[in-house]
Symmetry: C2
Subunit: 358 residues, 2 copies
C-alpha cells in the first residue's frame, strides 16, 4: 500500500492540494553542497568513463578503514537496495528460505519473491520493545534457511537492537550455520550506539549492507556498499559487470567527500532529526499513542488499539497528510509510520491533524 | 579474454609502461561540457531525491518523440546493459534459449549464462559480408526459443545490417513468434542509415535497447533505455523498484540536454570517427588485412589467415598496444578488434605496430 499512498499523494498535489509528505524515507534536507561540488569537480576532470565494477579504490579503502576491514571485502553498489538484491540473488539461487523479523522494510520481501525464495517472518511486538526472541528465531531455522536479514536500526520502528539481543541472535545464527545480512543504513546517524554485525567473528561470513542515502542526504544519487567475504564481493562484482557495470565515478568521488566530512555532516543530521523525534514523541505521548521512542532517524511507528490504519491513512490523506499504514510493514494493522522528513513546522501541523483525526 | 587483456594493460601502465589502449569501447573524447553543466545545474536545484523507477517524464517524452512511440513504451535504465539484463531476466525466467548472431558482444552470453538461459550462436562470416542467413536462423529456432538478439550496428564488426537482410530476419521472427531484442546503441552515430527494429509492425513486440554512452560520450554515466510494449516496460519498472530504484535525476537531466543537442553532438562524433575509420581502413588494406569497412564507430575487425589472435594480442601488449582478440567475440581466432578510441596520432602509431607485428 506504500506505493498506492504515494501515487495518491502525488495525484492530489497535481490537482493543487497541499499535502504534507510524511510517507517516505526521503529527507527534506538538501545534499550538502560540498558533496555536490565534489561531483562537479570530478565530472569536469573527465571522471565520466567506464570504471571498475568493484568500485573506485580510494572509496573502497576509505570504507574499509572506517569499518576496520580489508579493501578486498568492499564492493560499491548503486544504492544499498542493489546490494541487498545482489546478495540475495547470488546466495539464494536454487531456492531456500530467508528469515526476516517484522515489522520490516517490504523491499526485502519483494526481492525474495522475485528471485523465488521463501520468506519466513518472525514477529516482534511493541509490547516487548521490538525484541527478536532468539528461541523463536531458532525454531524457524530449518535446513533450507540460507539467510537472516536484520535491519538495525529498524525501519519502521527506528529501534536499535540492544547488544544482548543481537549477541543472542548472532549466537543462534553461528550455531546453526546461517548467514546474517545486516542492513545498517541508519546506523551512522542513530541517536544511540549501534553494534555492527562486523563486530562479530565466526565462520558464517555475515554481511553488512550500507549506503550513503540517509547519512549524507543522497537518496537519489544511488550509491551504497556491501562488506562481505572476498568470495561474495567477487561474485557481486561479476554480477555488476553484466548489469550496472559501475557506479559513476563522479558519484563515488561525491560519496568519498561525504565520508571525509562525515563527523560534521552526520552530527548536523543527527541533531536535526533528534529534535524532530523529541517533538513528535512528546505530541504523540500526550495524545495517548503507544510507541517506542526513536533510537534513530527517520521514523516513529505509533499504535492505537483498535485502529484500522489503512482506512486511517486514506482518510488522513484527504486531510492533507500522507503517512504509511502499519500493514505496509507486516501484520501491524493498529500501527502507522510517520516519516519525520519535512520541516519542523510542517511536522507539527501534521501531528495535530493526526491527533485530531484518530 | 577481454577482461584479462584490460587487467594486463592496466598492470603494465601501473609499472610505468606506455600503452595505447585500443581494447575497449570507451571513447577518448570528453562528455560535451553542456551535458556536464546540465547535471550540475540539476544537482544544485535539488534534483538529488528518490524518483520514479520508470524514469523522468520529460526524458521519456523526448525519447518517445524521437523514436515515434508513446511515453508509456519507454523506461529509463542505468545503462543499456541493464536494459538487456532486465529484459532477458524477465522474458527468460523458466528457461528457454536465445539466438545470437556472432561475432557478438559477449555480455549477451554472460547474461544468458547467469540467468540460466541456453545460448544458440548463429555464425556470420566476413566472406559473406557478415550477413545473417534467414534460412539458418529459421533452422535454429525451436519451441523453446524465446528471443533473438540483434546488435545493429554490430560490435565488433561495425557492420550495419542491410534492409533486405533485416527484413528477412524480422519476417522469420514474426512467422515463428519469436521476439527480437535489438541493441542499437551505435545507430545514432552510424555512418550509414540504420533501419530500426521499431520500423516493423507485428505481434511479436520487438524490443529496442539503446543508451547515451556512445552517442554522447557518456559511458561512465550509466544511462540508457528500453522501448517495448507497456507490459514489459511495467515489469522492468517493477524490477527497477527492487534493485536500482532510479537513475539519478541529475543524470537524466544531463541525458535530456544531450538529446536536445543531438544533431550537433552526433555530427561532431560521427565526423571524428569516420576520419579515424578511413585512416585505419587505408593502413590495414595496404598491409593486406581483410575486413569490412566500418559502417559505424568504434571498431574495425580485421582478419589475417592463419593468425592466432590471442597470442598476437598478448605479444602486441608487450609492444605497447592493447587490442582485443577475435576469440572474445565468438569463434573468430583469425580476427582481432581495434577500438578507434584514442587520438589519431596514437591510432596511427598503433596501426604501424600492428602491421609490423603480424
Amino acid at each position: 500500500m506504500l506505493y498506492e499512498i504515494n501515487e495518491k499523494a502525488l495525484k492530489l498535489e497535481s490537482e493543487g492540494k497541499k499535502i504534507i509528505r510524511l510517507n517516505l524515507g526521503d529527507p527534506d534536507l538538501e545534499t550538502p553542497p560540498e558533496i555536490v561540488e565534489a561531483a562537479y569537480t570530478a565530472m569536469k576532470a573527465g571522471k565520466t568513463k567506464y570504471s571498475s565494477s568493484y568500485g573506485e579504490k580510494k572509496l573502497r579503502e576509505k570504507i574499509a578503514e572506517i569499518h576496520g576491514v580489508k579493501t578486498d571485502n568492499v564492493v560499491i553498489t548503486p544504492g544499498s537496495k542493489w546490494g541487498v538484491f545482489a546478495t540475495m540473488y547470488l546466495m539464494m539461487q536454487g531456492g531456500g528460505n530467508v528469515i526476516i523479523p517484522t515489522p520490516y522494510w517490504t523491499a526485502y520481501g519483494l526481492i525474495a519473491k522475485t528471485i523465488g525464495a521463501e520468506v519466513k517472518l518472525l514477529r516482534t511486538e511493541l509490547e516487548n520493545d521490538w525484541k527478536v526472541d532468539p528461541t523463536e528465531l531458532e525454531a524457524l531455522i530449518d535446513q533450507n534457511t540460507k539467510m537472516i536479514i536484520l535491519n538495525n536500526p529498524n525501519n519502521p520502528t527506528s529501534k536499535v537492537m540492544d547488544d544482548e539481543t543481537l549477541d543472542a541472535v548472532v549466537e543462534v545464527a553461528n550455531r546453526k550455520g546461517v548467514t546474517i545480512l545486516s542492513d545498517e543504513v541508519y546506523s551512522a546517524i542513530a541517536f544511540t550506539k549501534t553494534k555492527s554485525i562486523l563486530e562479530y567473528d565466526g565462520d558464517c561470513n555475515h554481511i553488512l549492507s550500507n549506503g550513503f542515502s540517509k547519512t549524507f542526504t543522497m537518496t537519489g544519487w544511488r550509491v551504497g556498499y556491501i562488506i562481505a567475504e572476498k568470495l561474495l564481493v567477487d561474485k557481486i562484482t561479476k554480477l555488476n559487470q553484466i548489469t550496472i557495470n559501475n557506479v559513476p565515478v563522479f558519484i563515488q568521488d561525491a560519496a568519498l567527500k561525504g565520508l571525509e566530512l562525515r563527523e560534521q555532516i552526520a552530527t548536523a543530521i543527527k541533531n536535526e532529526y533528534k529534535a524532530r523525534a523529541d517533538m513528535a514523541s512528546q505530541t504523540l505521548a500526550t495524545a495517548g499513542f503507544s510507541f517506542s521512542k526513536p533510537d534513530a532517524p527517520f521514523y516513529v511507528f505509533p499504535k492505537r488499539a483498535g485502529l484500522n490504519s489503512e482506512k486511517f491513512t486514506l482518510d488522513l490523506l484527504d486531510k492533507g497528510v500522507a503517512i504509511a499504514p502499519g500493514s505496509s510493514f507486516g501484520d501491524y494493522r493498529e500501527h502507522f509510520r510517520i516519516s519525520l522528513t519535512a520541516p519542523r513546522d510542517q511536522i507539527e501541523t501534521a501531528l495535530q491533524t493526526i491527533c485530531e483525526a484518530v
